[in-house]
């Protein structure tokens, strides 16, 4: 029976019923796959890609942040260094200035002291000269009156004579000084 049946069939000529059934079966699979399965798979792939890319992005952001922090730190360090250098320079300049001022002050002081000493010295000299002039005059008159034997103390002429004499002495001394 089976062998007889086999002879009736040509395997390359399919019955219409099977073609219809096959079409329906594939259509169902395609419908389910295209409407439901494939979009879900695509969704999964997308979610996974986003998760991976998101991770990379996060890492990149963190790296950028770390780099920014490092840059900021370096900038701050450089700033602090330059500031320190500036302060040092300023301090040095100030020290120099103070030194200059002190030196000038000291010089001024010494000049003043010297000037006062000279002044004092000149005053004393003048006093000594004045005293000497008085004493020399009195001595000379005393001596002359003793030599002459008469008092010429009240004589206006005598006064004039002594004064002239002393002026002569002065001019002699002045000319002697200038000649020297």
């Amino acid at each position: 029976m089976i062998i007889l049946a086999a002879e009736e069939h040509n395997p390359l000529i399919p019955p219409l019923g099977e073609i219809i059934i096959g079409t329906i079966a594939f259509a169902i699979v395609f419908f389910v796959f295209a409407k439901f399965v494939a979009p879900r798979f695509e969704q999964i792939f997308r979610a996974r890609r986003e998760a991976i890319e998101g991770g990379i992005e996060r890492a990149e952001t963190m790296q950028a942040e770390a780099k920014a922090a490092l840059d900021q730190y370096r900038a701050q360090l450089a700033e602090a260094r330059s500031e320190a250098a500036q302060i040092r320079d300023q301090a040095r300049a100030e020290g120099q200035q103070i030194l200059e001022e002190l030196r000038a002050q000291a010089q001024e002081e010494s000049a003043r002291i010297i000037a006062r000493g000279e002044e004092q010295l000149a005053g004393q000299r003048q006093q000594v000269v004045n005293e000497l002039r008085g004493q020399i005059g009195a001595l000379a008159v005393d001596l002359a009156s003793r030599v002459v034997g008469e008092s010429l103390a009240d004589e206006a002429r005598r006064r004039g004579t002594v004064d002239r004499f002393l002026a002569e002495l002065d001019s002699m001394a002045a000319s002697g000084e200038s000649a020297r």
């Binding site: 079966a25 796959f33 494939a38």
Partner: protein, 272 residues
């Protein structure tokens, strides 16, 4: 293998000494029921039952695989994803081309449908693939045929598409006498026919091999003499061939899909 058993039963009952080799009857099992609808005869056989079981199991598997989608996939999702990625990235994107991704659902359902039906050829109790019936591969090939011609017309325009097929660019004019008939034959007849026959013949031959070795083992073990040695060898071969069949199952599903991918590529890219 009821029909195979019947063959063996008949042979033994007839008392004939020779081994009754299984024939085409394998693929025409006695229908469990027949009915007629709108003048078309339908037979419910174990092969059509196999088709529906494979289809339902496939849909059940796919739906279960994507029911709770997770970034880190579970086992079922991973298997489904691997299959779909193979088709989506390996065929739709790499074979069809940059504009091939919209075809991924079609190619994916093609691949999974063929795979599930091929699987029936080594699943115990079913043990015959619906794809070893010419009707089913033919249906798929026809759908592919219509699709790649339609895509060609849509992408390149009817005039350009048919002109390029009839008069292959870059061929010397006298050669058209030779090339044009070949191209027509190739694009409109040979492609769908080979697509269908390749799958059908592989599953057909695979089933025949398994049946011959299985029946041979049963037959030989019921005989005397050296048959006791050759029987187990035959049984062993049946097991080995089952593993070989597993390879063919995957390979043919993949080959069918890849070829459809190259046809779609030819339709989309106009350089041809």
């Amino acid at each position: 293998m009821t029909s195979s058993a019947l063959v063996l039963g008949n042979a033994l009952a007839a008392g004939s000494d020779g081994f009754q080799a299984p024939g085409l009857g394998e693929f025409y099992p006695t229908p469990l029921a027949t009915f007629s609808l709108l003048g078309v005869d339908f037979e419910i056989t174990r092969i059509t039952l196999g088709l529906w079981i494979a289809t339902l199991l496939l849909i059940g598997f796919l739906v279960a695989a994507v029911r709770r989608p997770q970034i880190v996939p579970g086992k079922l999702q991973f298997i489904g994803e691997s299959g779909y990625s193979l088709v989506r990235d390996g065929i739709a994107r790499d074979v069809v081309g940059p504009r091939g991704l919209p075809f991924a659902p079609f190619l994916g359902s093609l691949f999974f449908f063929i795979l599930a039906n091929n699987m029936m050829s080594i699943i115990p109790l079913a043990q015959i693939s619906p794809m070893s019936k010419f009707a089913f591969p033919l249906v798929l090939a026809m759908i592919c045929w219509v699709l790649y011609i339609w895509v060609g017309i849509r992408e390149q325009g009817a005039g350009r598409y048919f002109k390029d097929i009839l008069f292959l660019p870059g061929v010397p004019k006298p050669m058209y006498i030779l090339v044009t008939p070949i191209e027509i034959l190739q694009n409109f007849i040979v492609r769908p026919f080979t697509l269908a026959v390749r799958l059908f013949a592989n599953m057909f031959a695979g089933h025949m091999l398994l049946v011959v070795f299985s029946l041979g083992a049963v037959y030989l073990l019921s005989r005397d003499n050296f048959s006791l040695i050759f029987g187990p060898i035959s049984a062993l071969m049946a097991i080995v061939m089952t593993f070989f069949e597993l390879l063919v199952i995957f390979l043919q599903a993949y080959v069918f899909t890849v070829l459809m991918g190259t046809y779609l590529n030819g339709s989309i890219e106009s350089e041809h």
